[in-house]
């Protein structure tokens, strides 16, 4: 059993090594032919998992502001199964002015929702860290809901080497 597993791992290692080499060759090709690069771009944006509708459900007819919300993610995630992330919002976190919730959405996973974090003035600080699954290279969108009814938004691209979400 253990021997089989080891063999599988070896095979996987070698097939990955080859694919990396191919990928490198690919990058060189793309560098010389910009046409290839352009044709590559829409493929990334083509996936629609309904995140825009999900975002609309959160913000309604409001336009979220692109400031005050920090979304920290690695630029390159080697393993899409566990991608660490941190979110923080500039807020005094008092009874009159605090962050009610922070929503995290994926633009390229089978399902758009990742998590919703609910804060209270007792939180003291509107910040949270966790780990997410990312199926492929994509943008992650984070939306903060403030106690005054306003919304903040931030998005960040993560390049994923090995996708998570099983399959």
């Amino acid at each position: 059993m253990a021997v089989r597993k080891e063999r599988e791992m070896k095979e996987r290692f070698f097939s990955e090594a080859i694919s990396r080499r191919e990928a490198l060759a690919g990058i060189v090709a793309v560098g010389t032919a910009t046409a290839l690069m352009l044709s590559h771009q829409p493929a990334l944006a083509a996936t629609d998992n309904g995140w825009q509708e999900a975002l609309k459900k959160i913000v309604g007819d409001q336009t979220p502001v692109e400031s005050g919300l920090t979304l920290q993610l690695p630029e390159i995630a080697e393993n899409g199964n566990t991608v660490p992330f941190s979110i923080s919002v500039d807020s005094p976190m008092t009874e009159d002015d605090y962050v009610k919730a922070v929503h995290v959405l994926s633009t390229g996973n089978p399902q758009p929702y990742i998590a919703t974090f609910h804060f209270t003035p007792d939180s003291g600080k509107a910040a949270v860290s966790s780990r997410m699954r990312l199926a492929a290279t994509q943008d992650v969108v984070s939306v903060a809901e403030l106690s005054n009814g306003k919304f903040l938004i931030a998005r960040k691209e993560v390049k994923v080497t090995i996708g998570g979400c099983g399959g």
Binding site: I114, T116, F117, H118, D122, S123, V128, R133, G166
Partner: protein, 107 residues
Amino acid sequence: MSTKPRVRVPSTAKVGEVIEIKTLISHVMETGQRKDQAGNTIPRNIINTFTATFNGKEVFKVDLQPGISANPYIAFYMRVPGPGELELTWLDDSGNKVTEKVPINVS
């Protein structure tokens, strides 16, 4: 979800201080997207809610979705109003509930 969750809080805190609470629990977080070898969909089973209350008052809550990794790690903050007990609860799709009580000591 039988294993004990790991929770880390500062050994002592001052009144009014904002402290970080780090939590980790073992759970498969089955997405409901995967199929077994026979091609049948493996039913979804994730921790869907995490709640933190201090002396009975809710401080922080998370609605988790399948996009959260297996063995969920959650780190968050709390302003210490005084000495008391922090109660953390994890609830999964199959109805399993794990509760952990952590004393917060004030110096």
